[in-house]
Symmetry: C2
Subunit: 476 residues, 2 copies
């Protein structure tokens, strides 16, 4: 749903929810004791009630203080019951659920979604054709699945043009580290292939799904654009747009939206996205809006009237349903199918099976966190695969497969040798959890500081330039 890296569409267990409710209940009581403002109390109560509703939906039981939930059949948040027997994960644009601390089983997902694994051959072909070493997201299987990437490479080999498309659902001002994954990778793709890039901010979708005004959603889009620009995109090769703004500025984009809308039935979106008769017609027709940027004629200022230019979409795997639909429609309205590169999910600090929650700032590291907050969050909240005592740890070693600090290093520590040494030492017990966390802290602190400094430089004028429909540095 516009989030090209998952966000609230994350992981939750009944136990996690139970703990959230208990904590939120404590918070409400202490606010009341402290005679806090009416607004503050009301908003805390509202969240508490929402959590209880979520709990009921997830467990099928009412929340009872002091009675943690028993193992139950999981139910996806949009009401579709999904049996999870430990082996079965659930992934759609709104819900990602797994019972495993290692996270989703991505090999199974490839089979289920019918995509292709990014294998050694593909990676080597990318390296050979571009003359660049593969990004560590590729080398480490963080981008692990694709559709038609060989077709894109064929085009590149034949010097035919293609373009990149990614996006984000601006659900709040704050973005966390996980949200950067598709953008870091897309920037790398743009550099090695030297192609145009369009970035969609689905503020209309966030307005439809959340308790926001259109103006708030648009403002989040503009704030998020600053973080995206701070990743270092080339202004001459990148167009960023908010739906609420750009749809109303581009008759050609709207024409493509309507064409998709004509070729997709309610039955289809019901099957793909789990919509029900009680959903608003805005949600029901939204998938067409995420589909249309995959067609080059949606951007006449960049591609003129060229219809055949193929699109490559880097995104998290939970966005694939939108693009399966897009690929189904494309040939029926005379466009090439977009190709895709899928990433895994970015885990919450509390572990790969827990929920990264917008209401819990400790579940992730935000791009706005101070150096001290980064250190505290990692030390206090990052789920450890280490043993309970130093003695046991030295004796049995730690478990990298469930250790969140180690997982984060696979995302952000570029040095393969250093990472491999950490893995070996942690597994053997030579490296302690505190030491592993220290390495992560020392990796993230300068990264985030540099990001914050770049972001500070980005003026409203620069955002406006990125978001103005205009010719890019390519001739079509």
């Amino acid at each position: 749903m516009g989030d090209f890296q998952n966000c609230e569409s994350c992981l939750s267990t009944p136990l996690q929810l139970f703990q959230c409710i208990t904590e939120q209940g404590d918070k409400v009581r202490s606010l009341k004791t402290a005679k806090a403002s009416k607004d503050e109390i009301e908003s805390a109560v509202k969240l508490l009630l929402q959590l209880k509703v979520d709990y009921k939906k997830t467990t099928g039981q009412d929340y009872k203080p002091g009675s943690p939930p028993e193992d139950v059949m999981s139910t996806s948040i949009n009401g579709t019951a999904t049996e999870m027997d430990g082996d079965e994960d659930f992934v759609d644009p709104w819900t990602v659920q797994t019972g495993s601390a290692k996270g989703i089983d991505y090999d199974k997902l490839i089979v289920r979604f019918g995509s292709s694994k990014i294998d050694k051959d593909l990676i080597e072909r990318i390296e050979r054709l571009t003359g660049h070493k593969a990004h560590h997201f590729l080398r480490r299987g963080i981008f692990f699945s694709h559709r038609d990437m060989h077709q894109i490479l064929d085009a590149y080999e034949q010097k035919k043009p293609f373009y990149l498309y990614t996006g984000r659902g601006p659900s709040s001002e704050a973005m966390h580290m996980g949200h950067l994954i598709p953008f870091i990778f897309t920037k790398w793709l743009q550099e090695i292939f030297d192609v145009p890039l369009v970035i969609q901010l689905t503020d209309d979708e966030k307005y439809l799904w959340k308790d926001l005004t259109p103006m708030q959603a648009y403002q989040y889009a503009v704030e998020n654009a600053k973080d995206i620009i701070a990743c270092g995109f080339n202004i001459d090769k990148t167009f960023i747009f908010s739906d609420l703004d750009y749809i109303g500025r581009s008759p050609d984009f709207y024409k493509n939206i309507v064409q998709v809308q004509k070729h997709v039935t309610f039955n289809q979106v019901k099957g793909i996205f789990g919509f029900t008769d009680s959903d608003c017609i805005g949600k029901i027709s939204f998938p067409a809006i995420q589909a249309a940027p995959a067609f080059s004629t949606s951007f006449p200022h960049i591609f003129k009237d060229k219809k055949g230019i193929q699109c490559l979409i880097p995104c998290a795997i939970d966005q694939d349903p939108y693009f399966r639909m897009t690929r189904d429609v494309a040939p029926r309205i005379g466009y090439p199918k977009p190709a895709l590169l899928h990433s895994t999910f970015f885990p919450a600090l509390q572990g790969a099976q827990t929920k990264m929650s917008a209401s819990d700032s400790n579940s992730s590291i935000y791009l706005t966190d101070t150096q001290k907050q980064i250190k505290t969050k990692i030390n206090k909240h990052a789920f450890s695969g280490g043993k309970d005592t130093i003695e046991d740890h030295r004796k049995y070693g730690g478990n990298c497969e469930v250790d969140v600090s180690y997982m984060y290093l696979t995302f952000f520590l570029e040095d393969d040798e250093k990472l491999e040494k950490i893995r070996q030492d942690y597994t053997s017990g030579a490296l302690l959890t505190g030491e592993l966390k220290k390495t992560l802290i020392e990796t993230l602190q300068p990264m985030i500081q540099a990001h914050q400094e770049r972001r500070k430089q980005i003026t409203d004028e620069t955002v406006k330039q990125f978001m103005t429909p205009r010719k890019l540095a390519f001739d079509f």
Copy 2:
């Protein structure tokens, strides 16, 4: 569905369809005999098959040559079975059905739709406030029903602004006399109230419902705009727009569309419009696009950011479902409910219970018809309420209630006294059918000729001006 006067959304009986199929079958055979071109034959066969599908839908039976249908339960074209026991008419934006030669029972429709009858008090109040004699469409009950018209008159009395909104679904280049009704009346309203007017051409909707490309639908919109402009609208007070063009030029219009889409569920549009799970998501979300022009902020070039300006919508009664929905949503997104003035349907030449068909040019008088065609069509096809022989006619008199020529005169002969004399003389038998038809021919020929002359004067430049978002001659 965008047609603010019904068109294909007209009247059909099983017998009528049976005759159409028989004729079309004959046509296919004679084309084959004459060794006509492959294209010509194929298109005739396609129409034949479509008619057979329609027949099956309407009667529940397969077409059998030589076996006219028996009386059956009528079924609306979008699949919802609707019992019609002779007393019950069926009216929605796509289907208007009645078993009566007099046409729909409008008094019953007012009760069913929950609107109000335009009564003597309302007409007198309009005359008193504006100082103009009521239009003959009001005096003769052609505009017969309203919602909140007294509120509009209150506003007018208090010198508060309001605006007019009407529209058309451009399903082909050719418009017929019936299509002019809302425009003739709207022009009169604009003159007596001196208010801004917006006219929506729903080319997106015609693209969604018909076998058209977006470009064809847009071209029909532009062609139709010429006929609308030829009605004499004031360019300084009128904005005409195509959805396919204007949605992509107005972020504010799109914001209103999304706001409506957030507040209407599939359940609701299913109930109101009879959509099914097999309908495309474009149709399902379209009602929001016909709703949004009822909110003044959709036109910032006219109303700036003024939210509270009320809207008055003159339209045929079959469009009321769209605006019932709009009135339901309006207060929930902070807008006033639009007021409405509803017209009756314009009858087909063959009679008020038959279908005005786009594929049968003899079912109506087109704005492009020659003087001779007008004469021939009326003499040959206009259903007569006269008797079979002159003797019987003189003796028993004619029946104005089912006579199409007389019905057309109520629409187009402005002189009340003359009309009343015709009614009396025809009813008494003093006036023969041929004489009545002659009066109609002499009324329509100069009207259509004048229209054609005005239309010829309308350049592409004028159309462009009308369709350019701009300030009108009002300060807001």
